[in-house]
């Protein structure tokens, strides 16, 4: 069983929901990400989504675009991201880590090489924003062989027939994008999300994480009532941007946000 599945099973038995923070690896400096990952876990994060910086993050709003730019300024490469995960795994053997990004860096490394390196580093899942299941047959096989979950997105525009296909292709969890738009854009409508999740659950037993549009304790709590996982990104990345001049303060400041969300979700 994958670490991700184990994690969701355990939470389920405790009657809790997963808190899944996203940060961009290497933002704003090469040394911040590792202590930040540990701090988020200590503050109550269950799964970590680690962004692979990309020059052209088409599905992201300005907040994560700038995070990519900061990380690329000092040349954070996919191999560096894998390195960070490997270091994280030296002391944390249980918290699942999901890489999130765009296809080209993986394409250039080569799917097979990536699968091998990611597996060796201790990566548990991969979410490639611009790789829908239609184009992912070979990719899926290689990831599966390396015991890496492939996580797919579902959107408000995804029709029921397609929900079935996408869920059948994925493993670990599915990621429901709660708003039409880029990351960090609009606020979500919980009632609409609940309705959509009901439909999704008719077609899959996979846990459903919800992301895009979760900005504070209240929205985290509200979403946790309907979803299996709450994914939060831009709010954290904003805090990181604010503190890019005082990088040593970042882990504590970001952990304070996740801790507070954790509390709100567990109430």
């Amino acid at each position: 069983m994958s670490r991700i599945t184990e994690c969701f099973d355990k939470l389920k038995s405790q009657g809790r929901k997963a808190l899944i923070p996203y940060v961009t690896a290497g933002d704003p400096g090469p040394k911040v990400t590792l202590p930040l990952m540990h701090a988020m876990v200590e503050s109550g994060a269950d799964i970590l989504e680690l962004g692979i910086p990309f020059s052209d993050p088409m599905a992201d709003g300005p907040v994560i675009q700038l995070a990519c730019e900061r990380a690329l300024l000092h040349g954070t490469r996919l191999v560096d991201v894998l390195d960070i995960v490997a270091q994280f795994r030296e002391t944390d053997k249980t918290t699942p880590v999901v890489l999130m990004g765009y296809l080209n860096p993986i394409e250039v490394m080569g799917y097979a090489v990536f699968a091998e390196k990611a597996s060796a580093a201790g990566v548990d899942g991969v979410l490639t924003v611009d790789l829908p299941p239609e184009e992912a047959v070979e990719f899926n096989q290689l990831m599966k062989a390396a015991n890496i979950d492939v996580i797919y997105l579902l959107a408000p525009t995804t029709e029921e027939e397609r929900v079935k296909q996408v869920c059948a292709a994925g493993s670990g969890y599915v990621y429901y994008v709660s708003v039409k738009g880029v990351t960090g854009s609009a606020s979500l409508n919980v009632a609409e999300v609940a309705e959509k999740l009901e439909m999704i659950r008719r077609h899959t037993d996979l846990p459903v994480g919800v992301g895009f549009g979760i900005r504070d304790d209240e929205s985290a709590r509200a979403v946790s009532e309907v979803a299996d996982g709450v994914i939060v990104g831009s709010v954290l990345v904003n805090k990181i941007a604010e503190l890019s001049g005082n990088q040593e303060q970042i882990p504590e400041a970001v952990a304070a946000i996740t801790a507070s969300m954790r509390q709100a979700m567990d109430k």
Binding site: D56, D130, E135, A155, T157, K180, G181, S185
Partner: protein, 406 residues
């Protein structure tokens, strides 16, 4: 060399998923999948509908001014002392470039889908102008994304778009050129997908765009083939077209794919020279990768980051290329070469002085390749060059290089 069977297959590309061999496809975030499937269905239905065809043909004839002439550049040919150069005069189209063939087609699709708003990305501004033009004519709201660097270089076209009632949004992210304008247009589309039709300006992007843009632009090659036969009694020895995203080139090439004796030569922007790394020539110097919804030759570094491009011509300043060109390159049907900034500028001046035709800087790349090739060929051979647009928009850039303020 591809066999006859290979070429018959090539002519039928793409497959149902939008793949041209290993290239193309639909690499987008989930939010756009439904819109792209809907566009594909709408397009496949309408493209076979005689009434839609009649509407499209009518607009091309009476609004764009087609057919565009095929002009024998006798004086230039005589000066070069070799092959006869024929120019396909897309510069004479309404709005001054081939881009309008495609925007007419996509605007008709937008009209049929009932979306009240269109968006576009633009580099040189020609596609932006062509989009603003059809939007004005159909009463659609229009926003055009343009890198701020191109807003500066193509100030005339920016003002033209504004006069036509479009809003031009200057994009300041990334390298501030065409690729970033396309990123921003994609972000807009994801957000406003319910009421917005995205008019992509070149034969790239996710399926079905490379296919439908090619089909709308293939009028260039169909006319040219017939005109060349009528005027000379034979097919050309080679076709030459500049390649940015590749729409004018694929429009010229596609009807000739099975004419195995007709060479097809795509001309990329060599910038300061391929060896300097400062260019926009993914087919000449790139590797396959994935960007903007399709797999194709790309300029990226060894970590997969897209790298900055350079060309004197804003319309060629793009790190990717339409997937059908990647395919035609790999099967050996088309050849791709690069022309540097200074060679293109020389060609711009020479065609202006010798023939009284001022080409766009993009098209000047194709003219420059013809100037190189013609002297090596016989006088009874034919080079058919796609003159994709007129050069008025570039006078500013050329004057700046000459140190003149206009």
């Amino acid at each position: 060399m591809p066999t006859k069977e290979d070429l018959a297959i090539a002519k039928q590309m793409p497959d149902a998923g939008g793949h041209f061999g290993d290239f193309g496809g639909r690499y987008v975030s989930e939010t756009l999948m439904a819109a792209l499937q809907q566009l594909e269905q709408t397009y496949e239905k309408l493209w076979r509908d005689p009434q839609f065809q009649a509407e499209f043909d009518y607009d091309l004839a009476h609004y764009v001014g087609r057919p565009s002439p095929l002009y024998h550049a006798e004086r230039l040919s005589a000066e070069l002392g070799g092959a006869q150069i024929y120019l396909k005069r897309e510069d004479l189209n309404h709005t001054g470039a081939h881009k309008v063939n495609n925007t007419i087609g996509q605007a008709l699709l937008a009209k049929h889908t009932g979306k009240p708003r269109v968006i576009a990305e633009t580099g040189a501004g020609q596609h932006g102008v062509a989009t603003a033009t059809v939007a004005a004519r159909l009463g659609l709201e229009c926003q055009v994304y343009m890198g701020i660097e191109d807003v500066r270089r193509q100030a005339l076209n920016v003002y033209r778009m504004k006069l036509l009632g479009a809003e031009v949004i200057a994009v300041e992210s990334g390298t501030r050129t065409l690729k970033d304008a396309m990123n921003e247009a994609m972000r807009d589309w994801v957000t406003n997908v319910d009421n917005t039709f995205y008019i992509i300006g070149t034969a790239a992007g996710p399926h079905p765009y490379p296919k439908l843009v090619r089909d709308f632009q293939a009028i260039i090659g169909r006319e040219a083939r017939q005109q060349c036969l009528a005027q000379t009694g034979k097919l050309p020895d080679a076709l030459i077209a500049c390649v940015g995203g590749g729409s004018n080139a694929i429009g010229l090439f596609h009807p000739f794919i099975e004419d195995a004796d007709v060479r097809m030569i795509g001309v990329e922007a060599g910038g300061y020279g391929i060896e300097t790394g400062q260019h926009a020539a993914p087919l000449s110097a790139g590797e396959p990768g994935v960007l903007h919804g399709n797999r194709t030759y790309l300029m990226s570094d060894d970590a997969g980051q897209i790298i900055g491009t350079h060309s004197v011509s804003a319309g060629l300043d793009y790190p990717g290329v339409g997937p059908e060109h990647s395919y035609l390159k790999d099967i050996g049907r088309a050849e791709y070469v690069a022309i540097n900034d200074d060679e293109a500028l020389d060609a711009f001046r020479r065609l202006t002085q010798v023939e009284g035709i001022m080409p766009a800087l993009e098209s000047s790349h194709a003219v420059a390749e013809a100037i190189k090739m013609a002297p090596t060929m016989d006088k009874d051979q034919i080079l058919l060059v796609n003159l994709s647009g007129r050069g008025d928009k570039d006078i500013h850039t050329v004057a700046e290089i000459d140190g003149i303020v206009v």
